[in-house]
Amino acid sequence: MAETINLGKALNHGLRRSLENDPKVVIMGEDVGKLGGVFRITDGLQKDFGENRVIDTPLAEAGIIGTAVGLAIRGYRPVCEIQFDGFVFPAYNQIVSQVAKMHYRSKGNVRLPIVIRIPFGGGIGAVEHHSESPEAYFSHTPGLKVVTCSNPADAYAMIQQAIASDDPIVFFEPKRRYWEKGEVDLDLPLDGAYPLHAARTARPGNDATLLAYGPMVKVALDAAAAAAEDGRDLEVIDLRSLSPIDYPVIFDSVKRTGRAIVVHEAPGNLGLGSEIAARITEECFYSLEAPVLRVTGYDIPYPAARAEEEYLPDLDRVLDAVDRSFGW
């Protein structure tokens, strides 16, 4: 049954199906129960699955992740909601030193099939701590996998795949895209779904490769559409998985196009673009017509809402980078 729903609702459907399919799946977080989460991603789930499956927790992120670890040792599959990107840090110790390391420490004896859902990124006019892009902190951490979705169909499949995976996964949700709609096949069998850790060519092209993820995929696609009017045929790759990154797809593309531009909201310095640029250069050295360019947030704290439009990568900045690449 294909339905046109928004990304937030797609996540809600995905969570619901995971709760239905596996009695060990539990959702936990602040306000996820009666309220259904501040973004309503868990709307209606506590009502239908009860307080033991959808747990309103005390206001403590370390507690959410730390108890999720214990629940996972007990055999549960916790799906933890962090209310906003900037509020994940009280849990950072548990995530980096426990969630990421317990499988390694225990020689594989302990599996922690924990999903940490984090609405991330800006563009919603919010106050401090509500618009950050902390993905690099997690991608840099061995033992964690990191994914993000850019559209409703992916959101629906990927959240279920993440929950079904035995790896601990940080699942970044592009909060400003929660309300964007797309067609979703709600009957899609998980086996048939596109692999969780595979990148996807969102738009094929031959002249340059745009690499984006989460909220920036739309920006990249818009830029590619605009460039097409100028006769430039840009390929857009939606990374989907931020750790591991699906490099073969990237290298294939860049070897064809000779140019790559990475787009993300996070500060450029040590953002994902830096690793991707370094890897592309290592693997495609003789194919590159220009250095890999990056269009990113600046190396400043996320600014006040009324300045965010200038902070966030947009179509113009992407096209500017494309121009620079061609002009190299």
């Binding site: 129960g33 309220l35 005390p58 009280p90 919010a126 701590h129 310095n269 600046y298 200038e310």
Partner: protein, 380 residues
């Protein structure tokens, strides 16, 4: 803990009682003595009573203006203090000029009592800046959004007071740290209790238990009254009727004086209620029933003081009318000034990242300026 001197707690009194000096119907209780033998009272002049009333009305009126501004799209978000005026004005007025306050994002009433221009936090909520001011100038720290973090800052500041030798006398300095019931679950808040106990810091922890952390009722944070948390860290905890401005004042003043005198920390649980939404983004009808809100309306902090002033003939309709008018004018003035707040210069986002800046950032700022300039005249 006893509710005033009354033998039996009314149904407005939570199990375990609290310190109350003014009942919801405006009856003045002479003094209240807690289980540990501490007696609280206030001794206000008529003028002082009236000024407290003015404060309450003013902060509620300004808050209402902010709610309206938000609804009209002039603020990105607003965290209303509706219902918590007495806790904020009572504690805020108990502060002495040398004391230092560490607020959350909801302490507009305390800010007002510190004598600070009420427009100050609007930069944050309008999105033109992040609410920055000089904490030391106003003895009022910037708003803190990450739940609980400010309690550690307050504790460190209080340790500094001790290190500076500024405790141990009636003129000593003290710190007050504000936080909510939800915040009591955060590790950092509990660490601030640990530290304050160990270092005997001159600090008052002022917890406004407004019964909710967004949608979550108090039971999600604790199964015993919050003020009882303090004993396990070696300092006293006291619960006060947070809708009673007199009791809030008395309890806070005593705790601050203890702190400034070198007697260390106190945890105050101000038992109150968030009458509005958590913030303008919230829809409380999803998680609480209107009868609960109605019940709390009957305990309104302003109505009870007004009833008391009227009964005691401390003030009459003239005064009440004048207070409303003055507050209304203040609110309109505030509105105008909020609307006039200039949008930030985009390039200013590169300022103040570091006291000493950074060559990398200077380069980025320059590139940004060049890029912006490239659109000039292009109609962009």
């Amino acid at each position: 803990m006893a509710k005033g001197e009354r033998e039996k707690a009314g149904n407005d009194v939570p199990a375990g009682g609290f310190v109350q000096l003014l009942t919801p119907d405006g009856e003045r209780i002479e003094s209240a003595t807690t289980a540990d033998g501490t007696t609280y009272t206030v001794d206000f002049t008529d003028e002082e009573y009236r000024e407290l009333y003015r404060d309450l009305v003013t902060v509620r009126r300004l808050d209402a203006e902010a709610v309206a501004l938000q609804r009209q799209g002039e603020l990105g978000i607003w965290a209303s203090l509706l219902g918590q005026e007495a806790a904020q004005v009572g504690s805020g007025r108990a502060l002495r000029s040398q004391d230092m306050a560490f607020p959350t994002y909801r302490e507009h009433g305390v800010l007002y009592c510190r004598g600070i221009d009420p427009i100050m936090p609007f930069g944050l909520f309008r999105g033109v800046d992040q609410g920055g001011w000089d904490p030391n100038e106003f003895r009022f720290n910037t708003y803190t959004i990450v739940i609980g973090s400010q309690t550690l800052h307050a504790t460190g500041y209080a340790m500094g007071i001790t290190m500076d030798g500024k405790t141990g006398s009636a003129d000593g300095e003290a710190v007050i740290a504000y936080f909510g019931d939800g915040a009591t679950s955060q590790g950092e808040v509990n660490e601030s209790f640990v530290w304050s106990g160990v270092f005997n810091a001159p600090i008052v922890f002022f917890c406004q238990n407004n019964q909710y952390a967004i949608s979550e009722p108090l039971e999600r944070q604790t199964r015993v009254p919050l003020y009882q948390r303090a004993a396990g860290y070696g300092f006293p905890g006291v619960r006060v009727d947070g809708n009673d401005v007199l009791a809030s004042y008395a309890v806070t003043k005593a705790a601050l004086d203890n702190a400034r005198n070198g007697q260390g920390p106190t945890l105050i649980e101000a038992y109150t209620y968030r009458m509005g939404a958590h913030t303008s983004s919230d829809d409380p009808t999803r998680y609480r029933i209107s009868s609960e809100v109605e019940a709390w309306k009957a305990k309104d902090p302003i109505a009870r003081l007004k009833a008391f002033l009227a009964k005691q003939k401390v003030a009459g309709d003239d005064f009440f009318g004048e207070v409303d008018d003055t507050a209304g004018k203040l609110a309109l003035d505030l509105r105008e000034r909020v609307l006039a707040m200039p949008d930030p210069q985009p390039v200013a986002m590169f300022d103040n990242v570091y006291p000493n800046d950074s060559p990398e950032l200077i380069k980025q700022r320059k590139a940004f300026e060049d890029y912006q300039a490239s659109f000039e005249g292009s109609g962009h």
